[in-house]
Every structure is written in structure tokens, then in C-alpha cells.
């Protein structure tokens, strides 16, 4: 750690084009990375952390200019290096891995071919030697059956395997510095844990310096040697991981850490014995291709799911992508028609309702969607979006609009903001509009499908708090779908764990999280990034 730095940024400023929300993406950023250390850069969206990674690689778009400062790497200033020399640095000196390996890999060429390209460009090894190197790299990143993987196209590999292939490519030429821009954000929690371990292992073996960009303090706790916290393009705090995580000094860092939901559940609330929603043996199978049932691909998205939701309680459904949790949620509101089973809401079986009856009954059960920008029609004003539901169900327009403005106040928005269009709101505010829209019909049950996954941690904490308050005030019963166990621990009374369409375990949150019975639940809990940190720290700051 006391070695001389591999890369040092000195007063780096990057100017944004006119008309952007601020003048500088980066403002006087100074930091250094030594070989054999992992430096985590943490910040919320828009903090300039990705722009910094791109500036180091000199990959900023044309209208963005590096205005001042120096980037010393290997004895030269990257700010003044000419493009030809920069190409030598990229790949061989500094390598980069990205958030979404599917878009970073060329879909039309095999993985092995793309790794071999690194050698073809930067070295003059023979074809046979390159082939050997590629295989040994794929073994290094522990891809199962490297020979097959080398011949596979990107879409034939899983997300985790693709990210492993990207890492193999990045490490092909033994770069001195590896920049990882949110490399695990798009991955499931168990895969994320494996990739983090892999990066750590490879880094220790190869003594590479790693600049790791993330928004997740759990990941920081897991992997960082040192931490840099960024806000609005400035570094607000930097220090060793231990110092920053346990003894943060800057108020923004404290606020960010406090917003990370701890993995321990709050004390259980008394639950009503009356079940408002009862789901029994719901199943949904997808068939694709094939003719007259021959050669069709059959995917069982939900198998025999049975759950109950007591009145006034919150039921969490957790699982990784592809576990069927979203399909189940959409079955409950009949956006998807289940194949069989029964969904009893206040004694009415939703599975047997006809289209027209569903349209009438939707006011009892409403849904909040994951992506607040995609779930609001961009061409309607906010108040109109909220009033739409009641208008459809026969409320006169004027009354509905007045009620919409009252709902704005209820979800913590300025009632006068109703005349603005969705794109004029921030992500957190948009999710509040989505919530207001769902509440406008005064539902008994709210289905929330990953309602906070697209939000920054501090905003996430606010929306979760709001959801908790509304549940108390309006007596809502909530089905809360999430992939994040920490979030589930905070808001849910009951939790059901789903894997491959099946509910493998369900019960009270405190029971499931402290004494998981099913091996999959145990694996999930063990994979939560910074698990020890998340368990220890309380929202006490």
C-alpha cells in the first residue's frame, strides 16, 4: 500500500456541454491508486463516478472536455497523450469492465475469438499460443468448461459467465490497472458474490490495482481497501474502508451509510388473523415454438404457488431474476392469466373473473411498477396520470383532479406540481406519482413490483419510509416483490422465497432471515454484499 501510485489524478476537472444540469461533471478531483489495492469510488447516480472512469480511458464524448488537471499513469500524463499512444494504454495498461456484459460483448462473435483479439492487437503471438492463453484465462476466471465457453456466443452464456468472460478479456494483457464500472449491478445477488470474490482473488494473485465504481455500500464493505465518496462531481471523503464505513466524517457519507437498509428485521408487528388475499396453487407455464405440442419449449414460470396475506400486513416475495416473482405478481392483478389455481381477494376468485369484471374490480387491487420513468405515460401531466384511474371508474373529471392534488400532498409532493410532465420530476418523485396513481382508487391491496430498485439508496430509504407510513394510515395490505433481501427485511412482515417458479420457504421475516431452513435461502442470505456490515450497522446514525 505504501508503494508508489499506479495512477494519480491531480485536480481533474471535466466540463459538461452547455445546457447540462451542471457546468462540470468532475470538479478538482484528486486521488491515487497504488498497485495491489482496490479503491472503491462510491456515489449516487449523477455523482460523476462513471464520467471519471471514462475520462481516465479518454473515452468521453466529443462535447465533453477535460478542462484542467493531470492524470499521471506510468510516468505520463494521460490528459496530453495523443490518440495513438492512448490506444497502447487501453487494454494493455488500463483495462475496463462494464456494467452490462451483454452490450459490451459483440453478439456476432464467439467469446474466445473476442478474448483472442486482445492478443492479436497488442502482441504478435502465434495462433496456437493465443488459443492456449485464451483457455488458461477462461480457467483463471473459473468459467465452467472453458473449451465450450470459448466457442460460445455471448447470448449462450449466463449473465455471470458473460461477466467472467469480460474479466478474462480485461486481464488478458496483465494490465496494471483495472477499472470496473458497476460490474455486478446487473447480476443476481448470488452471482454478484461470486464475481466479487473472483475480482478479489485475481487482484491479489496478479497484484493489479483496481478502481471499482459502485453505488452500493454493501459491495464496498465486501471488497474495498480504500474508499472515495463522490457527490456532484467532487470528492467529499476518502480514506481506508474501515475508517469510512465505521467512522464516516462527512455528513453526506453518514447519510449514505444510514440509508443502507440493515439486514436485521425490525421487531415483528401483530398480524391480523383475517386473510385479505389467499393464493392457492397458482401456476403459469409458457410455451414457445413447436407445432401441435411437438418440439415446443415449455417454461414453468410459476409452479403451484400458495400464499396468504393477512389484512394490513406486508408480504415480501424475494428471489433472483427468473424466479417467477414478477410473473406471480402479474398473475395476481391478472395482467397475466394464470393457468390454474385460485386467487381469493375478499372472497372473490380473481382467476375466474371475466375481462369486464376485472376492469370493475381493479379498484380493490392496484400495482406499483419498477421503473418510475417507464410506468408513467410521458405525454400526460402528473395530475392527469393520478386522476386517470378514478375517471375510468366513473368519478367526474373535476372531482378526480381535486382528489389527485390531495394525493400529491399525501405522497409528499407539491400539489402545484400536477401541471408538470413526468420527465420534469426526479426518479424518486416519479415513483411517488406512481404510488399516488395506485392509491387514487383507494385499493385494499397494493402489489409493489420492485418499487425501489431503480432508485438511489437515499431516495430508496425515503420511498420505503413513505410506503410504511401509508400502510399505517390507509390500512393497506401490501405484496412487495424485491430481489434485495435488505429491503425485504425492512418493510415486510412475512416473506416468501422463490426459486425457479417455486416458493421454497415462507414465514415471518425474523424467522426466515435468522433461521433459514432451505439451502437456497441460506445461500441468498450469505451472498448479501457486505453481509456482516449490513447485520451490524443499525440505522442509528
Amino acid at each position: 500500500m505504501s508503494e508508489q501510485p499506479i495512477l494519480s489524478l491531480e485536480g481533474l476537472s471535466v466540463r459538461l456541454p452547455r445546457g447540462a444540469d451542471r457546468t462540470h461533471a468532475l470538479n478538482g478531483v484528486s486521488l491515487s491508486i497504488a498497485s495491489n489495492e482496490i479503491l472503491c469510488v462510491v456515489g449516487e447516480s449523477g455523482s460523476g463516478k462513471s464520467m471519471m472512469a471514462n475520462a481516465i480511458m479518454r473515452l468521453v464524448p466529443g462535447e465533453v472536455a477535460i478542462e484542467a488537471g493531470r492524470m499521471m499513469f506510468d510516468g505520463r500524463d494521460l490528459c496530453t497523450t495523443d490518440p495513438a499512444a492512448m490506444r497502447e494504454v487501453r487494454g494493455a495498461g488500463i483495462a475496463m469492465i462494464f456494467q452490462e456484459p451483454m452490450t459490451a460483448l459483440n453478439p456476432l462473435r464467439t467469446v474466445g475469438d473476442q478474448i483472442a483479439e486482445m492478443f492479436r492487437i497488442h502482441t504478435d503471438l502465434s495462433k496456437a499460443e493465443i488459443g492456449e492463453r485464451v483457455l488458461s484465462l477462461l480457467e483463471d476466471v473459473r468459467i465452467p468448461s472453458p473449451k465450450t465457453a470459448a466457442k460460445a456466443y455471448p447470448h449462450e452464456l449466463s449473465g455471470g459467465q458473460r461477466q467472467r468472460a469480460m474479466i478474462a478479456m480485461a486481464l488478458a494483457l496483465d494490465p496494471k490497472l483495472l477499472i470496473a464500472d458497476e460490474p455486478t449491478t446487473a447480476l443476481d445477488v448470488t452471482t454478484q458474490a461470486q464475481i466479487l470474490k473472483l475480482i478479489r482473488d485475481l487482484q491479489q494473485r496478479k497484484k493489479t490495482a483496481v478502481l471499482f465504481i459502485t453505488h452500493d455500500f454493501g459491495v464496498v464493505a465486501e471488497i474495498a481497501d480504500r474508499v472515495v465518496v463522490m457527490q456532484h462531481g467532487k470528492i467529499v471523503e476518502q480514506g481506508t474502508a474501515d475508517d469510512v464505513l465505521n467512522r464516516p466524517t462527512h455528513s453526506y457519507t453518514k447519510q449514505l451509510i444510514a440509508a443502507v437498509p440493515p439486514l436485521t428485521a425490525p421487531p415483528p408487528r401483530p398480524l391480523s388473523s383475517d386473510n385479505i388475499l389467499t393464493i392457492t396453487n397458482v401456476a403459469k407455464t409458457y410455451r414457445t415454438g413447436g407445432f401441435l405440442d411437438r418440439g415446443a419449449r415449455v417454461t414453468a414460470a410459476v409452479k403451484d404457488a400458495s400464499l396468504t396475506l393477512p389484512r394490513g400486513a406486508t408480504l415480501g416475495i424475494v428471489g433472483e431474476s427468473g424466479s417467477g416473482k414478477s410473473t406471480l405478481a402479474r398473475c395476481i392483478v391478472r395482467l397475466i392469466d394464470p393457468d390454474n389455481g385460485a386467487i381469493l381477494l375478499d372472497g372473490k376468485d380473481w382467476v375466474k373473473l371475466k375481462r369486464a369484471e376485472i376492469r370493475r374490480e381493479t379498484r380493490h387491487i392496484q400495482m406499483v411498477f419498477q421503473d418510475p420513468s417507464a410506468s408513467l405515460n410521458p405525454r400526460r401531466k402528473a395530475a392527469e396520470l393520478v386522476a386517470q384511474g378514478p375517471i375510468v371508474h366513473g368519478t367526474p373529471r373535476a372531482t378526480a383532479m381535486t382528489e389527485a392534488r390531495e394525493l400529491f400532498a399525501l405522497v409528499g409532493l407539491d400539489p402545484s406540481a400536477g401541471d408538470r410532465f413526468p420527465h420534469e420530476f426526479s426518479g424518486g418523485q416519479r415513483q411517488r406519482i406512481g404510488l399516488a396513481r395506485a392509491l387514487a382508487l383507494k385499493p385494499d391491496v397494493l402489489i409493489a413490483d420492485e418499487p425501489v430498485s431503480a432508485l438511489d439508496v437515499s431516495v430508496q430509504a425515503q420511498v420505503l419510509k413513505l410506503l410504511g407510513e401509508l400502510r399505517e394510515r390507509l390500512g393497506l395490505s401490501i405484496v412487495f416483490i424485491t430481489h434485495d433481501l435488505r429491503v425485504a427485511a425492512q418493510v415486510c412482515d412475512l416473506v416468501a422465497v422463490m426459486k425457479d417458479g417455486e416458493i421454497v420457504e415462507h414465514g415471518l421475516v425474523a424467522d426466515v432471515f435468522s433461521r433459514p431452513q432451505h439451502p437456497y435461502t441460506q445461500a441468498l442470505l450469505a451472498s448479501v454484499p457486505g453481509g456482516a456490515f449490513a447485520r451490524e450497522h443499525q440505522t442509528a446514525v
Binding site: 376492469r359 381493479t362 405515460n377 410521458p378 384511474g389 375510468v392
Partner: protein, 276 residues
């Protein structure tokens, strides 16, 4: 408006708009400047342009004022272009919207019909329609509209396919909206911008189609249209070439103007191109 500001930033789009406004001004002022019937005999036949101040653009083979016919022709071209475009886009969006929204067998049937229209060459189909239903101004306009709808239909269908699974449409469904409310109220406004841009292509195309019909003397002979004038000029093309050339230039300018306006609209309505 943002879009308006972006539109006026492009010089080509502004030139297009100025030309189009000029053609519209011609159409509006035709009655004032040339109160007489443009198809009435006005003087000696085949007077060259710029030789007689009474006929600045000369006269055609039967002695009718070319300038008057150009001014009145602007009316016909814009009328045919406008109405045929409205017909084509209306049929197209409707069919495209239903095909894209419902998918499955509805989509299959509607798209096979669309393809049936697309595989026939536009102009041949137009000739057939005019041959069967006669060549009055109304039938010609409707026929052009019927010939031009498949492309807007495909465009609308593609937009609907990508929009129908968006979360805001699902949100509308969970609010209890009917299919028609979703199609017209939620999806269509978001699907329209590319269709509006494409409408300019349809408009240019319908003006050209009408001229082509008139050139073959299959358009309505009782109106002063640019195409009719070109058709007449065909007989004297080698000597008095101006009879065909002058309306030709008018068509060129109008189609160019419409295309430039369409391109400008495309750039203005598509914010992703902002930085280019």
C-alpha cells in the same frame, strides 16, 4: 416549445418551410390574381415565356395562360397531397394500431392484407383503380390514399409492438382501462411522431402520383393541374419544352419543400438527434 426551437435551428428545414408557404400563398392568391378560368383560351397558342407581358410564363398549345394554370395547379396539388395523405395515414394508423396492439391472429390477418397491397406496384394499382372508378378529382384523390396506406400501417404497427408492453400501458390496464382507451389515449400519442414525419413522404408521393397519372392523361382533365399541363406539353416537348418544364419545376419545388419540412420535423421531434 422545445421542438419548434429545434426545428428553426436547421437551415434546410427553414428553407423547406418558406418554399411550402410560398406554394400555399400561390394557391390562396390564385383567385385574386387570375380571376378568369385558367382553362379558358387567353391568347395565341405557344407564346414563349418572357416575350409577352400579358403572359409572363407563356401559353400552352391551346393558348391558355401557363402562369394561371400554375397558380391554380398549386391548389389541386396541395388538395390532392393533403387529402390523400390524411386518408392514407388514417387507414394506416388504424390498421397498424390494431395489428400491433392485439398481435396474434389479428396481426397475422391485417399484415397479410397489408402485404398484398405492398406486393402490387403502387402505380399499377392506382391505374387499375382509376380505370375502374373513373378519373374525377375525388376518385383520383381517394385512389391515391388507398394506394399509399401500407407504409404508415407498418410503421404504426412497429411502434405499437414496442410500446404495448411498456409499464405505463400495463399500469393503464391495472387501472381498469378498456382496450380502445389504451390504444387511442395511451399508446397512440406516443406512437404518432414518426408517423407524422412519414406523412410528409406520403404527401410528396401523392403529388408525384397525381402528376404521373395526369402525364398519362388519366387524371381529371377538367381541372388545372400541374400534371395535366405536363401531359399537354408532351406533344410539343422537343420544340416548346417550356410547357412541360415549368409545371415540372413547380412539382420539384413543392415535393422538395414537403420533404425538407418532413426531415426538419423528424429532427425536431426526435430528441435523440439533438446533439448532432
Amino acid at each position: 416549445m422545445d421542438a419548434a426551437k429545434r426545428y428553426f435551428r436547421s437551415p434546410a428545414a427553414v428553407i423547406g418551410l418558406v418554399l411550402l408557404l410560398a406554394v400555399i400563398a400561390m394557391a390562396l392568391s390564385a383567385g385574386v390574381l387570375y380571376p378568369r378560368d385558367p382553362l379558358a383560351l387567353a391568347g395565341r397558342p405557344l407564346v414563349w415565356p418572357f416575350t409577352n407581358p400579358r403572359f409572363p410564363l407563356g401559353t400552352d398549345n391551346s393558348g391558355r395562360d401557363i402562369a394561371a394554370q400554375i397558380f391554380y395547379g398549386a391548389r389541386i396539388s396541395l388538395l390532392i397531397g393533403g387529402v390523400a395523405t390524411v386518408i392514407a395515414v388514417a387507414i394506416g394508423t388504424l390498421i397498424g394500431a390494431f395489428a400491433g396492439y392485439y398481435g396474434g391472429w389479428v396481426d397475422n390477418i391485417l399484415m397479410r392484407i397489408t402485404e398484398a397491397f405492398q406486393t402490387l406496384p403502387n402505380f399499377v394499382l392506382l391505374l387499375v383503380l382509376v380505370a375502374v372508378f373513373g378519373s374525377t378529382l375525388t376518385t383520383v384523390t381517394i385512389a391515391i390514399g388507398i394506394v399509399c396506406w401500407p407504409a404508415p400501417a407498418r410503421l404504426t404497427r412497429a411502434e405499437f409492438l414496442s410500446l404495448r408492453n411498456r409499464e405505463f400501458v400495463q399500469a393503464g390496464r391495472t387501472l381498469g382501462m378498456r382496450d380502445l382507451q389504451l390504444i387511442l389515449g395511451e399508446i397512440l400519442p406516443n406512437a404518432l411522431p414518426p408517423v407524422i414525419v412519414y406523412a410528409s413522404v406520403v404527401m410528396a408521393l401523392s403529388i408525384l402520383l397525381e402528376s404521373a397519372l395526369a402525364f398519362l392523361r388519366l387524371s381529371d382533365p377538367n381541372v388545372a393541374s400541374w400534371g395535366n399541363l405536363i401531359g399537354l406539353g408532351r406533344d410539343v416537348l422537343r420544340v416548346q419544352w417550356y410547357v412541360s418544364a415549368i409545371p415540372g419545376i413547380a412539382i420539384l419545388v413543392t415535393v422538395l419543400a414537403v420533404s425538407l419540412v418532413g426531415q426538419g420535423l423528424n429532427d425536431a421531434l426526435n430528441p435523440r438527434l439533438k446533439s448532432r
